[in-house]
Symmetry: C2
Subunit: 244 residues, 2 copies
């Protein structure tokens, strides 16, 4: 008995749902939390805005079981934005599987979120089955027609990130440019959480990270821009400085 038939013998025979990955791609630009949305070019929800995403490749399901969920997420991100896994912070968010969430049939969607640094935000444009693609301010989402249950997915992503940025430094690290000022980092926190942070108190946290070696001085200085005293530039020690 060959191995494949030995496997096939135990094959499940139940009805199966489709499985997709949906990507909540976020970045902070211009004092604003922005989200990548695709305008659907097909039914259902033609003309509505939706999260980028697509089907998980499953192979024949026996010999070739297809791609990992994480790989599917990275692939979708690459296809829609050109970004690679090294450029962003990517993490699974939640799996949405209510019956009826897609009128075409049963679809279970594994949602991921991706945080894009401000200095790597790609220009986006219409793709295969997308009529259009743009970055939309999260604060203006209520005026937008979203497809499927994507409003729920986005709301959960924003809530999760707002909570997690306080204790997981990687989130802020992955939203800020390679070199950044104290005020820029602070504004990332403010935009993501919706809170105001006292400048002095925030700087104390910041200075502690310098003492701990988490943050280091950035080599160059930024071109003198607006009015007021020019700010020091810093960088996270870990990776991004030497990374690329």
């Amino acid at each position: 008995m060959s191995r494949s038939s030995a496997r096939a013998k135990f094959r499940y025979e139940h009805a199966r749902p489709s499985v997709t990955v949906d990507m909540v791609v976020l970045t902070v630009v211009d004092f604003d939390l922005k989200l990548l949305l695709i305008e659907r070019g097909q039914e259902p929800f033609e003309g509505h805005w939706a999260l980028p995403g697509g089907f998980v490749q499953v192979g024949d399901g026996i010999e070739d079981q297809g791609e990992d969920l994480d790989v599917a997420a990275v692939r979708e991100l690459q296809e829609e934005t050109g970004l690679s896994a090294r450029d962003v912070f990517l993490e699974q968010l939640y799996t949405f599987g209510k019956a009826g969430r897609d009128p075409r049939g049963r679809v279970v969607s594994v949602a991921y979120y991706a945080l894009v640094p401000a200095d790597r935000v790609p220009r986006v444009r219409a793709g295969d089955d997308a009529a259009d693609a743009t970055w939309i301010s999260v604060s203006r989402l209520d005026r937008i027609d979203l497809a499927f249950d994507h409003a729920d997915i986005i709301a959960l992503a924003v809530e999760r990130i707002a909570g997690k940025i306080e204790y997981d430094l990687r989130l802020a690290m992955s939203l800020v440019p390679r070199s950044f000022t104290k005020a820029e980092l602070r504004r990332v926190f403010e935009v993501v959480t919706g809170n105001d942070y006292d400048k002095s108190n925030f700087n104390k946290r910041f200075n502690r990270m310098i003492e701990d070696g988490v943050i280091v001085d950035a080599p160059g200085k930024r071109a003198g821009s607006g009015p007021g005293r020019p700010a020091h530039l810093y960088a996270f020690a870990g990776k991004r400085l030497a990374g690329l």
Copy 2:
């Protein structure tokens, strides 16, 4: 054109994975964090221990899209333990979807965890395709042959709960009996996190919860048990006291 054919027109035609829910059912008894495991009676992994779980019912996928993921989790819990959703704290954990995690074919598994109060721990026994079922101490899991990637799922659940119990009171609420002593609550925290908590300092947190009305005095008193001064009994205000 009937509604069903209008929908069928848009039906997805991709290869689809099977989707299951796996349940990490935990409780704290006898100073120990315990986990419900099933001994598999069939290949693959016959004789190995596995998490309770099963397929998500999908219906025909068009007119009837089957059950929600959450409903599937509640149903599996009920089938294996007799517990209802009201008895436990139930939450989605993570979705495991690596290719090759099940030798029979592509399976995406949505993992949930359920926390069972110490006074509602059901007796369990062998079921349909389970040779046996028991509560096993999490600290002794390294000696046990686990099926599939269930060791990873359990590890993630334990880690998540250990982190979350510190800031989400619902977890401790759902592990402790309807009425409980300060020491019992403290031991739940100790067993779940693996830390030691200073009695006095823990009691301060506890007393603050009383001031805030989160915890109230429990009516009766417990039968005099061991040596030493008998402890006061308390209950969480919210629900469990009046709940049933």
